[in-house]
Symmetry: D2
Subunit: 325 residues, 4 copies
């Protein structure tokens, strides 16, 4: 379904794989500081932090899948079908539609700590964007340039904001359950294991990479959570921006869903439509798509962030092969 | 299919689980020293070591599934369908039928080393016991009271006698392949693992026994090989014969095939028909059956081992419940 | 830690493995109908259903690990370290200590449905039996002779009584999480699998029992939950009481913890101290111990159930070997 | 270590991941038809098929890691440390050094069938390229544009040429053992599994992609063999060359070794240095590197294939980011 990570390497990089069976017409969308942001049940924000991310736009409203703001806060919404539960409007609460949550947070929070405060009194309200655009069952990861991150889940238990010790989010089951499952894999290692199975017996070392033999490789959300955590935790730190963003995309690539492997309806397959990642300090948004392996970039600071209208870039989705002869 | 082990605990204990879908009418059979042993292509043995084991008897010939001799050598034949290959009679070789191999070795070898010598010029000949009793595809484990053991496999490559560093045998694939597969599991441990997956992250310890999470539990021969090795290697040593034989049977129990789990034909299930084990020093043969959890024992030294005829004991196969009121 | 199951085979059989590193001095204890049962915060029961089970006795009070009553309801308490949470005394609630819960339910409930009613207003109160006997962190399984079962968990969320669709309980994590984890293993089968990995390619069938290759074999609570469920769900139904109780113990045996595999402190190992099971209709209590493979039985209906004092039987813990010569 | 595949999609695509801890200075190298090819123990070839591939060049000799020829035959050498065994020069055999094998085959074979004939009398001789360039322990995959492929292994058993039913090669263990291990995973599927674990029980469907839960994700050669086979077998067929090569690289990407995961010496990590793939019909060679996600291409037919000297192209190893603003 989806995988989101934060990778720290001097600067911090945040983004996600979007895994779906259909592309929804997303673009790279910059919301400048003075673009008026309306909310259904909360006051309008006339001025706010600028943000950039992958989004569809409906009725001039940015429906972000994920994005970052100019203060170095990133946020992504990921499928959470099953546990996700949104509530009726509650008096005395900050009632916010699930589709409004990313702009609401990125508009106002300069850190994960501020995002937590902003959500302290929130109620994720069961509001649809429109009759045609029903609310999707989501949960969210919020991260900032210090490397901090939290997971936000609205279930029948209410709204939970969990500290995220690994900086990874995939999908169902609930976040505490993902951590419990992660525990099962804690012996996975880049190093060759000790033989504790049959101490003193010399077993054949038939391959390199033995230490990661039990790493899961499935498309399901538990497998991706474990693998992304392992790859991220052991990823090297580059010497410069290009090395870092290269390493970053390799982490996401490790949990890519290739076409043909996850049949969600007869002859319909979910796959990793795009991977994106932003430098949370520099405000540069990078992405690749399944169909185009080259990395593309949009720098929010090259735009007029004081303007009032959405700025959009189309997604480069054509494979661009470099022919050397 | 089957699992055989040697367990060292002061004395050494050797035996096996027999996993099949039908019981073949086995008995506890003692072959005394002066019972004449004929072989199809090799000289008759009029005098030899006495032996005891689980066997069927046809035409007054002991067709041992497994057994031990009075010198503390044990041997078991296990299913090896696929790789097992027996050869035409070869001039200049010691041609021995697969059904003759256990009595041939136990009659003459006082150690694993002597068994290896005995097999140095052997050819496992493609001879059937009778038109009705075709040769089964087998491989063998030979062990002695010092704890040494070897695996004997006759395949298209010829006859291989492998040192067995773990003292365990199950079935196909070939023994070197079982060891390669074993390597995959070497990080399995009785102790709680270090977190090398996500170093520095405190993961929930939700259960005891985490260190053995990746231990396989399937009925297939690779899973049983790995599990039996782990259980055996970490089994404690008892203070006396009863504790030792108790521990021994718990090792075999860990790879028992319960009824209903291994469907070998429609509505026909393989299961562990019996488990046996002998004290290689004392010559006492113990066994339990699927239907009778109590341990039974036959002591070869309580018989006249100088006699000339097979001595048999029926298998106690009725559950004997101790009613306390 | 522990595994409890209910097995339906005409009659229903309920009981558990007790996995610990020390034996606590348990006995087979019958509480007859007129033995006065006191509770710390609830009215005394002078007359109630008779019960039998494995228990320690302190101050003439039966501290049952597990047991059944004469109406065919069984109940077992299993370690639930971590999530278990007991609460302060709450006005208006039925405040019940964790150590009182089994006698409280078995004394009064003639079915799982009645047990649920009994617990509808319960609060598991944070009461110790004594300064020396602190409350253990537990959760419970209740089952009845119809095969129905529920799991009872008191956590920070409050008291949850979950329908238990598989009739199995082990330990942490919470019951809904065990079911989620079980889902991962749903392709495990007694039958040979179809090749959907590489359709059309003929792969070697090197072993029987392939369909259960992914069955876990670890000592941890998730592995035991999965394995016990699979074995139980495919266990055959016997033709008589002895066959049934034989099959029943083989199910528990499949998740036995052998000595040496689960190191809970340096050189201290948890293992399956005893396995027990009762015929819920007939009121016969059966058990085996690690040290004694023979099945023992105590029939509650052979006692005077109208009496007023506890009736106890010692646990037969000596291996009783049947010497055939 | 390495993974090689052949992917059929109308045209066939063949190539590999090269996984190592150091880059060896490889280039894209075209050997035209009239470049003289010398062999140590076999006659010189003055005229032969043209070839293209990834290679280092020493003393004007192309030491191919992998390549294809103009007839649509591809071949790659992969690490086979352990089982690989090269032999002394044998009279009456076609003695060929391991480093000569790729040019030897690609120069002369127009199909896998012809390659098999060419190797029918071969002896992989224990010859080093030079004192400095010792022979590496390798095995090989040969594939052609019909989709046929074989695995070539020289071990102590001699030279084996195995039909390769899956068109995948990684490393040790021996090829037949890889197929045996593959069998363990045959129930892995893109589709949601049937619940055969606990038939009739409704288990929670918490995630998409359940059918691939048991797919391995480790860096070791068995894990990569299984995963590459599954991904390849279910990869869709594109509508055109660009779609096909895109799909092809996604297959290899699924078994990419990310940096940091496979520690082969202290602080030294193996990773996927490059991935390449050729259209076997069109003679176009494509590649990407760890450091450069864009696909590069060299078309052998755009060169003068009648020439006599090696034609080389440097590897584009710089990340080329497309900045959209």
């Amino acid at each position: 379904m989806c995988t989101s990570i934060i990778y720290q390497a001097g600067d911090s990089y945040f983004g996600r794989n979007l895994d779906l069976e259909v592309s929804l017409g997303q673009q790279v969308v910059i919301t400048p500081r003075n673009m008026v942001l309306n909310f259904r049940k909360l006051p309008t924000l006339d001025h706010h932090y600028a943000m950039i991310g992958m989004s569809i736009v409906r009725d001039n409203y940015p429906l972000y899948f994920d994005g970052i703001n100019e203060k170095g806060v990133g946020m992504a919404g990921l499928n959470f079908d099953g546990p996700a539960h949104y509530f009726p409007i509650q008096e005395g609460k900050d009632n916010i539609g699930s589709f409004e949550l990313i702009p609401y947070v990125l508009a106002q929070a300069a850190s994960v700590a501020e995002a937590k405060e902003l959500l302290a009194n929130a109620n994720i309200a069961d509001i649809n964007f429109s009759a045609k655009m029903q609310a999707a069952p989501l949960h969210w990861i919020i991260a900032d340039k210090t490397g901090a991150s939290v997971t936000v889940e609205s279930t029948t238990e209410g709204l939970n904001v969990y500290d995220n010790p690994v900086g990874v989010l995939t999908n169902n089951p609930k976040f505490p359950d993902q951590l419990i499952n992660l525990s099962n894999y804690q012996s996975v290692s880049p190093a060759e294991p000790q033989n504790t199975l049959a101490p003193g017996v010399k077993l054949p070392v038939y391959s390199r990479g033995f230490g990661s033999h039990f790493l899961p490789g499935g498309m399901d959300s538990e497998s991706r959570f474990v693998k992304a955590t392992f790859v991220k935790m052991h990823a090297p730190i580059g010497d410069n921006e290009v090395e870092n963003i290269t390493n970053y995309f390799h982490i996401l690539q490790s949990v890519e869903q290739q076409k043909g492997l996850d049949e969600v309806a007869p002859n319909t397959y979910e796959y990793t439509i795009y991977s994106d990642g932003s430098n949370l300090t520099k405000g540069i948004f990078y992405y690749r798509t399944y169909d185009n392996g080259q990395i593309n970039a949009v720098d929010m600071h090259k735009e007029d962030l004081e303007s009032t209208a959405l700025i959009t870039y189309p997604v480069n989705d054509q494979q661009k092969i470099e022919y050397q002869n």
